[in-house]
Subunit: 364 residues, 4 copies
């Protein structure tokens, strides 16, 4: 079995997302974590590498040109994604990059060009698309099983910013609300882009116009911590996307409901193995991961039998599996790519533009 | 026990809502249904009266001046509410009126004047406010238990229009989508006003500005069958209200979530005996109807012990109970009144105005 | 419309169940509550009658022979049911009797004979069978839609005895745990019989043998407050019935799951408008009250459209509707009758016998 | 970081559980899978090893004495567990063994002696005890937060045997229903032991007497496919344990409810990040994984923030983490051990004995 030598940028002490990427890579089983530049502080990076049984490189450049890695996982704050990714691609290294892809459409477009020029694989970890029932939803919508999409309701409430910003997650709150490091969106960048990509992934529809208003209930002076976005989609359907990091009681409440002329689908990230399907002609059905008669994309992303919750790690590992498949030349996959990342920034910038004007319609 | 002699206008053959009003009146136990003008066609009205063991009056005027009734329940299509209500009040008769109160703000204001001049009771059946846990929510928000309200999410999806408009509910679909009989809103008038009132009832906040877009997926050429409304509230909170009568799989999915600086509440009409309370300082709590430690308003609206679902009829009967209390001089109640009805039309007209302009901000 | 003159025995001050019966009778709309013997203390009865706008009779005998009533509702403690019912039947009066029917199989059999001899209607208010989705379940099982019944799981936990026995419900606790007034079962009589009847109503199966163990966690010295019963059914299926009035957190948790060779059904009293149907050949379906394609028995017991919770009162009113239909000669109904009541006591006596012997198998 | 060299016995082509063990080992990150005897057929084993990028040993003996492994994971059918485990221990190799531990109490006792004599670590993968909220439940019960345990309801329904026994899982069905390979229990061994251990793990209570009846609805002639067991616990509490592999619609419905004198807990494997806590003095609370204020055992078993479902793999990895900690001398853990395995077989044998006698009480 061909193996992929992986380096990591970021993901050092206290960074949950670095641990998630390492675990996802291990779960796929085809990656070897060779080492990383785990921290901007070389001493901290070295200590951390030792703790996790890995190796620290002195710098990104050294790692990228070491000849020791085939691919790199970028898990730094948003503003560092594109520069690292571009450097990697130019060194002939595949890239797995955390989301959002960057902090401006402009830099995303530059990255698109580099991906095209490099011929390397670029995968963006919009990890929720790794859930089998999300892939089932995509299949059902795209094969017409709910008819023409008429309305979309997307929501992603959390409450960590109201709960922990002054405490255990102060450091994360600081950079996520800082435009220099987070880009033009706060909650919009961090979780709004997940909701936006999920909608696109399932329906294949793009937003043509949107209108956003935002709040800064905790983040006074910083970026938005909540946003309400109204959507016009390119098939004339309408939609709404609400995200908030100050919604008391919400943990990771990503949910998408898609209403078509013949039926509807409802999926919730906190109960990911279930997809509710309402057809106008009969009772609601509860489709469950691992059941027979699901589509190939759902079945092939399934690691475990019915009724044993697979959860977040397995979905994330599926994105790594897709990345590995692409890197090993095993064909295209459903993994989000560089153009998805650009769409994400187009969404965030459009929302920011609309909100700054007091909530006007803007083209995306 | 003093009893109230009740007449009914509308509510004849096939009208579900007339049956609901009669049942609610019976459940309260202090009303005697004397008779009614159950249909615009006197013969049908007479036949129907006989079927239900009641008496038909030849005309509204005859009934209102018969000396046989103290109060009237108006359950006709929207455009007939205000004329009947004004005639009743001028005859010194109390009014219980179905929602929305009318078809224009102008006629609602005229009715307000008549209510004031008459000294009679006017109750508008925004029946969801009769649910005990809605009254509990009101108490909690207004007594500061979730802090300052920051965000409100209201939704009311149904699917009957997509499901039954061409079949069993064709007649209802016809008048509900006809501006002459329904007023400026379709789904907005029929169910949007319920969501709007529920938000006001619980939070005490008013909308200052709103922006609406609408769809006509089934109702081609008629009124809106879905609407997405963005809200700015008078305490600077933001909100969204979505209503739809073409949302496949939705039965009567009225839900309200209110997020404050300290906590949040979540209530769903399809599971009305439960109120979820999330406080930032601890785990989510599930408050249930009939439990000790609920507020007086919730407890006094409760007819049955914990765990036996009270449901829609009991909530509706609570509005009738309130109406009876007011008519018998037993003090003010939480029942919606005439100014609530005017606010409802202000909401509908503002939405219609906004939507006609392609979704612009309008003052309410 | 022919009307039925109703008297009531019991149901006076503080008796929730009397209020429920009165409400159910009013909801059906064909009963007139003429008066009652609401309390064993005539003064209290008279005061109470006045409070509720009714009339007090001096004694049961006077009421039964007054010529003023056609039917009587018996809502006294268990030991008084059969004597009152027999007296009523002998006076030619129809009987609606609360459950359990009595305190011994012997008196139940005597009552059976009186019912047969009288030609009057006898209805036992196992009210949960009035829920439309319970009737749908019965239809589906009996028409073979889940194949051969193989396993039945019935549970009915409550917690009021642990919560309120020393407080607000002390009086009810006292008689319910007293063998002289409650019969041989505590929780078994009060709620176990509901679970037992529900199983029989839906499946048509009878218990051939059972084995019971009981607990007296609160009711020290009194009757059982919890029981675990293992069942052998007459088609060789096996089952379990658990009831408890000390199960913290349980409100009225009646639930029945029926597993057949081809599929299964799952119904919960706290969410009564929903019936989950799992067929081995596909995904779980959620059948909802008011939907098209339900059986006639479910549809005709439905008062309200989909998505508006009907709840407990409506289900209870359906039993009254059935009773009225039978009294008015409108044909047989699904209402529980006198033989169901005898089966209930056979169940309770068998459980008590088994538990007394330390949990041995006994024939029912 | 010290690493553990792991060998595997069983878990070859088509064996889901082997894949789960390998994944759990990888997720912990301290195990290196050196190789295995993946199949009883050496050729198949070699091919399979190649497929997964591992190495095949020619025989168990060779592997155990190769000096290349520190620990072995045993994932064969039940009858092979004890012989392999004993051989490993005698070779000085730590053991991670799938459940149930064996096919008789006698062989389990022999294994207990070997564990004691060897000084090696023995961990039994009752994996559900790796879920953080199960550990939270254990903490709460054992620290008295629900008072004295009075009733326990355990259930574990599945439907795969009714659904897939004639198809995709025929091979698994064959050995699981064969006493020579499965031991005296069918569903009782496979899933009943999980429920039994979960009850013991959380409550610390042991069964003193039990009574079981079983069914063979699919498994005609073979072992039980469903069992209903009534329990007497050593603190005089009563309980029930129901397991079934023919319960239509059930996927992996393991659920435990524990009722105490002051409160109750409710946990479901299909929604594992949630623990419902009902205290008699207030409303139900929903404790969620990753929340502050959970016990250390729950928190330290948590890999991910609130609201991202961790699921089955993470729980399984926690058992591997515990095993690694024990092997590396990092102190005792909550991982199930050899005496738990013996208790499991005592449970199964007692059930089988009781059922054979037609359902009599037997000591465990």
């Amino acid at each position: 079995m061909k193996r992929i030598r992986l380096g990591m940028i970021g993901g050092g002490p206290g960074a949950m997302i670095g641990q998630v990427h390492r675990l996802a890579a291990r779960m796929d089983g085809r990656f070897d974590l060779v080492g990383g530049v785990f921290s901007s502080d070389p001493d901290k990076g070295a200590t951390f590498a030792q703790e996790i049984g890995s190796t620290a490189f002195a710098s990104e450049a050294e790692m990228l040109h070491s000849g020791q890695i085939d691919a790199v996982a970028i898990v730094t704050p948003n503003h560092l994604h594109v520069p690292s990714a571009r450097a990697a691609l130019r060194a002939g290294i595949h890239v797995i990059c955390d989301k959002p892809m960057g902090i401006s459409v402009a830099e995303c477009r530059a990255l698109e060009a580099d991906v095209a020029a490099s011929g390397r694989v670029f995968v963006l970890t919009h990890n929720y698309t790794g859930y089998p029932m999300v892939r089932q939803a995509r299949h059902m919508v795209r094969s017409g099983q709910i008819g023409t999409v008429q309305q979309v309701q997307v929501e992603y409430p959390q409450d960590w910013l109201a709960r922990d910003a002054a405490g255990p997650r102060a450091r994360q709150a600081a950079w996520r609300l800082d435009p220099a490091r987070s880009g033009p969106g706060g909650a919009l960048s961090d979780i709004g882009t997940h909701g936006h990509h999920l909608m696109r992934f399932i329906t294949g529809l793009e937003i043509t116009q949107l209108l956003a208003i935002t709040a800064r209930d905790v983040a006074q002076g910083g970026l938005d911590d909540s946003a309400q976005v109204t959507l016009r989609l390119d098939n004339r359907a309408m939609g709404a996307l609400w995200c908030s990091q100050t919604a008391a009681g919400a943990e990771n409440g990503l949910r998408i409901r898609i209403f078509g002329s013949d039926g509807a689908l409802d999926w919730r990230q906190e109960d990911p193995d279930r997809l509710l399907w309402s057809d106008l002609s009969g009772p609601r059905r509860e489709l469950t991961r691992g059941s027979p008669d699901l589509c190939d994309a759902a079945t092939s992303a399934t690691m475990l039998g019915r009724g044993h919750p697979e959860g977040f790690f397995a979905a994330f590992a599926t994105i790594y599996r897709d990345a590995a498949d692409e890197m090993l030349g095993l064909g295209p996959t459903l993994a989000p790519g560089v153009s998805d990342g650009t769409w994400g920034l187009r969404f965030v910038e459009a929302c920011a533009r609309s909100a700054q004007k007091g909530g006007t319609w803007v083209d995306i």
